[in-house]
Symmetry: C2
Subunit: 446 residues, 2 copies
C-alpha cells in the first residue's frame, strides 16, 4: 500500500521531525469530539483495516520520486522516508464495542514521524466504519427479530466503501449483504433476489417468476411490485404451485405503503396455504421507517437496507480527531476554542452493570474496583497481536456488539432523542489537564 | 478488477438471461429521480471511472469457484460467465456538465446479461462522484474568487473515496487537494501546511514555526490557532522577519470566529508590512459558512474544505436509478408508485441561452433548432472513445464545469432554496410513455 495515501502535511511534518532529530516516541489519541444528534452511542469498527494499513505502510521509489518533485524533501530526508515503517504500539477499543464522545477509540505510540504519517489513514478507516456500524446498529435495534440485509453497494462512496459498509453492518448484526466481493472477503452471507428490470425483460411477470424459480429453485425471492403488488403476489403463488416448489421462498415489496401491502401479501400467501413464505421489504428504508413498520405490526420478516445505512444518511461522518497527547514524557494538549483536548495516554473504565457513568482516566491509573478497562493492546512494535482471518475478526466483533446490546442503557439505545451515557474525567486526568493547560497558556505563545 | 464487485442479484439475473437464451440488446438509463432539497443542479462526474470499470469487467477462476459454491450457477452458465466481457455501447453526459432530475447521466446498450451485471458498479461510481461534485460546486460558487482546497481525505468513506472526492472536487473547481495519492493519480496540485500536533511537538509555537519555515521556506503556511490566534500570527510574522523570507507565505485559522480573527490577522500582517501574506481558513467549513464569511467581507484568501464536502454532509447520496428502458425493439417501463420510469433510449435537448427549459426526448428524435444534445457516445463495442490520460480528463471536465457556471440560471445556482431548471418531456416521449404504460397495465400481471 502506498505511503502517499496520506495528507501532504503529514509528510512535511514527518520530514521536519526527522530533520530536527525528533525521533522520540509520541502518543496520539483518536476519539470523537461529540456524537451526531441522533446517536446515543457509537459502535467501534474499522480497527482491523487500520492495523493492516499500519503494517503495510511504506514509501516506494515512485512515491519518493514524486515527493522530490513536489519539493521541500532533501536527499537525506527522502532516504530516511524510504526505510520508514510503522514500528509503534497501538491500544484500541475492540471492534463491536460501544463508545461515547471523548473516549479514545485508539491510541498510537510511536516515533513521532511515524505516528504523524499514519494520522490520515487511521482516522479515515476508523471514522468511516464506526460511522456506518453506528447507523447500522440503529437499524438492528429497530428491526427486533427481523433479519437485515445490506443492500447499499450501489450507492456507497465507491467500491471499497461498499466492502467497508458490508463489514461494518455485519458487525452491527446484519445477516447478509448483496455485495458479493465483500461477502468473499469477510466471510459474509451473500444475498440477492431479482430486479424490476428482470421482470420487465420477460413478456409478463409470470414468465419472469417461472424462469427465475426454474433457475434458482432454492429459496427464491420474487419481486412483486413491478406492476401491481397483489397481482404480483398471486403470480408468485401460482408459479410456486405450478412448479411444485416445497421449500422456503419469499416475496419482496419495494414500493408503496409497505405496512398495508405486507398485510395484504400475508393474507394472500396464508390463504394459499403458504405460511412458510417470507416477506422482505426494501426501498429507502432506515431505522425510523423500520421502527414504524414494526410498531404497526407489519408482517415483515426481513428488511433490505441500502443507501440510508450505507452512507449513514443523517450523519455521514463523525467529528473525529487524532490528537497528540504526549511527546516523550511530556503530556500535551491544545486549547483551540471548541477543540481543546485531554493530555496523556488514556484508558476508559466502564461499569459492567451499566448503572454508573464511564470514566476516562490515564492509562497507568489502577483500574477501579468493579470496572473494566475498554482499551486493550492490539499492536506491539508494528505487529498486530490478533492475526485471525478477516472473517473471524468480523464474527468476534459481531458477538461483542451483541453483548453490548444487552448492556446498553435504554436511554442511549432508544432511536428518538437518545441520551448517550455520561462520561466523566478521572480526578488524576482532570488534575493533569489543568496543570498542562496552565503551562501551555503561559508558554505557548513565547 | 473482480466481476464479483456487483450485487448477487445481478449475477443471478445474468445467469438466468443466459440460460434462457436472452442475448438480445437492452438499454438501461441511469438518472436521478429527484434532487436533494438543497441542490439546484447536479454536476455529472465519475464517467471515466465507470468506463474503466466496464472495460475491465471480467470474472476469474476464483470468482467462478465462489459462485459455484454459492449455488444456482450450473456448469454451462459458469462457462458463459467466464468469457463474458462488456461489449456494449454507452452514451453519457460529459463530466463537468450540469444535469437535473430525470435527465439520463448515462445509457448503456448491451446484451442484457452484460448490461445487467454492470448495474451496481456503474451506479455506484457515477452516483458517488456526482454527489460530491455537486456539493463541491456549491462551495465553489460560495467562495467567489477565493481558492478552495480539498481537506477531506481523513473523513471520506475509505481511501478510494478520498481519491474520488479529490477528483470530483477538482472537476468542480477546487484548486488543490491534501490527498497526495489522489494528486499523483489525477495530476492535481497537492497542498499541505502543518497540524496542531506539530506546533505542540516543539517547546513553543515560535520554535515550531522556525523549524517549519527553515525546512519548507517556499510558501510556508503557519497554523496560528493552537494557543491564541493573534499571538500565533505575531509569532509567524517574527519568524518570517527573523529568517528573512521574502517570498509568499500564509497563515491558517482553524477555529474560533473566523471573520473576526481574519480581520485581526489581516491587520497584524498589514501593520508588519506583510500585505503579501495570505490568510487560509479551515475547520468544519461548508458552502454556507463560506458564503457567510464572504458576505461579512472577511479578508480570507483560501478555504480548506473537508468533511462537509467530502461526504456531502447534507445530502450524502442521490436518488439515482439504473432502469431498463428497452429490450430488443420493445420499450419498457415500470409503474411502481413513486418510481415510474420513462421508456426508450433518450436524449436531453438544452437551450444554450439558458432561457428555455431542458427537454428530455427520444434519442432518435431530431435535435430541435437552437438546442444542443447533452448525451454523446462515449463507448462503442466495449471500447472507450476518449483515451486521454486521467489528468487530462479531469482538466477537460473542469473546463466544462467552468463554462456551465456562466450558463447556469441564477435560480438554480443560488445556495438557499435553489430552483432547478424545469425539465419537460418531448411530445414523442410522452406519447411513447402513455402507450407503453397502458400496455403494461393490461399485460403485466398476466
Amino acid at each position: 500500500m502506498s505511503g502517499l495515501r496520506t495528507d501532504l502535511y503529514e509528510l512535511r511534518m514527518a520530514a521536519s521531525y526527522l530533520r530536527h532529530g525528533m525521533t522520540g516516541p509520541a502518543t496520539f489519541s483518536l476519539f470523537s469530539r461529540r456524537l451526531p444528534s441522533r446517536r446515543g452511542f457509537l459502535v467501534a469498527a474499522g480497527l482491523a483495516e487500520a492495523l493492516t494499513f499500519l503494517e503495510d505502510f511504506s514509501l516506494d521509489a515512485a512515491d519518493l520520486d514524486y515527493l522530490r518533485r513536489v519539493g521541500g524533501f532533501d536527499r537525506s530526508t527522502l532516504a530516511a522516508l524510504s526505510t520508514l515503517r510503522f514500528t509503534g504500539d497501538v491500544w484500541a477499543v475492540p471492534e463491536g464495542r460501544v463508545v461515547f464522545a471523548d473516549e479514545p477509540l485508539l491510541e498510537v505510540t510511536a516515533p513521532i514521524a511515524e505516528a504523524q504519517l499514519v494520522e490520515t489513514g487511521v482516522l479515515n478507516l476508523i471514522t468511516f466504519q464506526t460511522t456506518i456500524a453506528s447507523k447500522a446498529a440503529r437499524c438492528r435495534i429497530a428491526a427486533g427479530d427481523a433479519q437485515l440485509i445490506d443492500f447499499a453497494f450501489r450507492r456507497t462512496h465507491g467500491f471499497e466503501a461498499g466492502a467497508g459498509v458490508a463489514r461494518a453492518s455485519a458487525i452491527a448484526g446484519f445477516a447478509a449483504t448483496s455485495d458479493v466481493e465483500a461477502a468473499v472477503r469477510y466471510g459474509l452471507t451473500p444475498s440477492g433476489t431479482m430486479a424490476h428490470s428482470y421482470v420487465e425483460a420477460f413478456p409478463d411477470e409470470r414468465s419472469a417468476f417461472r424462469a427465475f424459480a426454474t433457475d434458482f429453485p432454492v429459496d427464491p425471492i420474487f419481486l412483486v411490485d413491478t406492476y401491481d403488488t397483489p397481482d404480483g403476489v398471486r403470480a408468485a403463488v401460482d408459479v410456486v404451485e405450478e412448479l411444485g416448489l416445497t421449500g422456503p421462498f419469499g416475496v419482496r415489496l419495494d414500493s408503496g405503503d409497505l405496512a398495508a401491502l405486507a398485510r395484504q401479501t400475508r393474507a394472500i400467501l396464508d390463504e394459499a396455504g403458504l405460511g412458510r413464505a417470507r416477506i422482505v421489504a426494501s426501498g429507502s428504508l432506515d431505522e425510523d421507517v423500520i421502527a414504524g413498520l414494526v410498531a404497526a405490526g407489519a408482517p415483515i420478516d426481513g428488511y433490505g437496507v441500502g443507501t440510508k445505512m450505507g452512507v449513514s444518511y443523517d450523519a455521514p461522518s463523525l467529528d473525529s480527531a487524532y490528537k497528540l497527547v504526549s511527546i516523550g514524557d511530556r503530556p500535551v494538549l491544545k486549547l483551540s476554542p471548541g477543540k481543546a483536548t485531554l493530555p496523556g495516554p488514556k484508558q476508559v473504565f466502564r461499569d459492567a452493570t451499566g448503572v454508573a457513568c464511564d470514566v476516562i482516566g490515564l492509562r497507568d491509573e489502577p483500574v477501579p474496583a468493579d470496572r473494566e478497562p475498554l482499551l486493550v493492546p492490539v499492536m506491539c512494535d508494528g505487529r498486530r497481536l490478533d492475526t485471525c482471518a478477516p472473517a473471524d475478526l468480523v464474527r468476534a466483533a459481531r458477538r461483542r456488539f451483541e453483548a453490548e446490546l444487552t448492556w446498553l442503557p435504554g436511554s442511549a439505545r432508544r432511536l428518538a432523542q437518545p441520551q448517550p451515557l455520561t462520561v466523566l474525567v478521572s480526578p488524576a486526568l482532570a488534575a493533569l489537564r489543568d496543570r498542562v493547560a496552565a503551562e501551555a497558556r503561559q508558554d505557548g505563545g513565547r
